[in-house]
Symmetry: C2
Amino acid sequence: MRIPKTHPRYESLVRRETLARAWKDGIVVPEGLIAHGRGEAFDYLFGEETSAPALVAEKAAAAALLRASRPVISVNGNVAALAALDVPATIEVNLFHRTEERVRKIVQVLDRAGTVRVLGRRPDARIPGLDSRRALCHREGIYKADVVLVPLEDGDRAEALVAMGKTVISVDLNPMSRTSRRASIPVVDDVTRALRNIERFARELRGDPEETSRILNAYRRVGNLRAAHSVLAWRLERFSKRRGARRRKRGARKRA
Amino acid sequence: MRIPKTHPRYESLVRRETLARAWKDGIVVPEGLIAHGRGEAFDYLFGEETSAPALVAEKAAAAALLRASRPVISVNGNVAALAALDVPATIEVNLFHRTEERVRKIVQVLDRAGTVRVLGRRPDARIPGLDSRRALCHREGIYKADVVLVPLEDGDRAEALVAMGKTVISVDLNPMSRTSRRASIPVVDDVTRALRNIERFARELRGDPEETSRILNAYRRVGNLRAAHSVLAWRLERFSKRRGARRRKRGARKRA
């Protein structure tokens, strides 16, 4: 099905098609499609655009990555399918539903995309406190990282990484999820937009250590998350008011 | 993966597994998995339980089905996988992403489940105003129906059926969706719970025409939908307050 560029939900529909294709290629699992749908619902509530608090968190995330000595981005099937990975970090493929075959395929896709070096195929370390498969990681990647960007992550793993003393940047459209609540810098935004913005901010901040410090010092996770929450509540209220307004208009027309 | 019955999200996880299996069997399409995820997000906001307004709508739906002369339930892949179809209505398989192969498979599954007669394989009519595939239906089914239960439907089709003068009962967890806004009786609930409740209410109301009339007369769609919306806004607010309370508690502990 060709989606016309003028369609009001063009980007959302293209993402849906991309995922369905990635699922056919063995990159994405059924659970990943369901998880994407959960994100879609929240994105719908957010009006399918980056909120002001998300933008603030994305700038803080970029600053944290620039300031890190060992920044790593943890990539799963959905992230590999949906986002460009131009952020300043080592890439490690890490799957909730891990099979070696799927890791191999995802590494291949990323290699083709020109990424310098992709970890994931021969894990040699474990994240403490997680069950076997999800714990697997690379000593030179996630294990020793000081800042880990975990887009579309599960709450357990985000929590385990925080417990290891790492700065965890999450990307999750649900501001109430355990991932968002546990992360050091929770980004409440769509993963495609979030990584695009983080990359852009990292480019802008590179070579400006003063501004980078200022941003890191000014960022407040609790306040930022609360703001994301307020945007959601406000949008929900607007939805209902708009409906009310339309109803009143229709009523007025009928009475006229 | 065995899910323990004691898991707080047991039902939700079982549904997710059921869908993944149905997808492997060719019953459910990738788009159906994404749609299920959207529902999951709303169900999460609703606390994964049937709200009071949903229960009212489900009772009205049962009354409308009992009162109908030609009630039909329109079944797609997700519905066939997730819900028991014991509602008092003719069953017609009707797919957004229609392939004859998938229709055949779903009819087979429903036949095995002991359903009396399942329409869908040889459509001989069209719903006006819809593009080719989605318009296909049965003269003796949806086309001539006076009441149509359309769980997990697309907005276009719900709208087209209303335009044909039918009473349309929708089941959709998003109270703001076009389907919910267009349906005659929008049920804002999970499809498994909704069909279970409608079946139970139909059983209770059968043989009580007075109570059935009373329920149909008392039902107000706009007010009911607004109530569903309020529940959502209230739950969202509670989420944020609970977080605040926990924070304050932690703060108090720290200070002590």
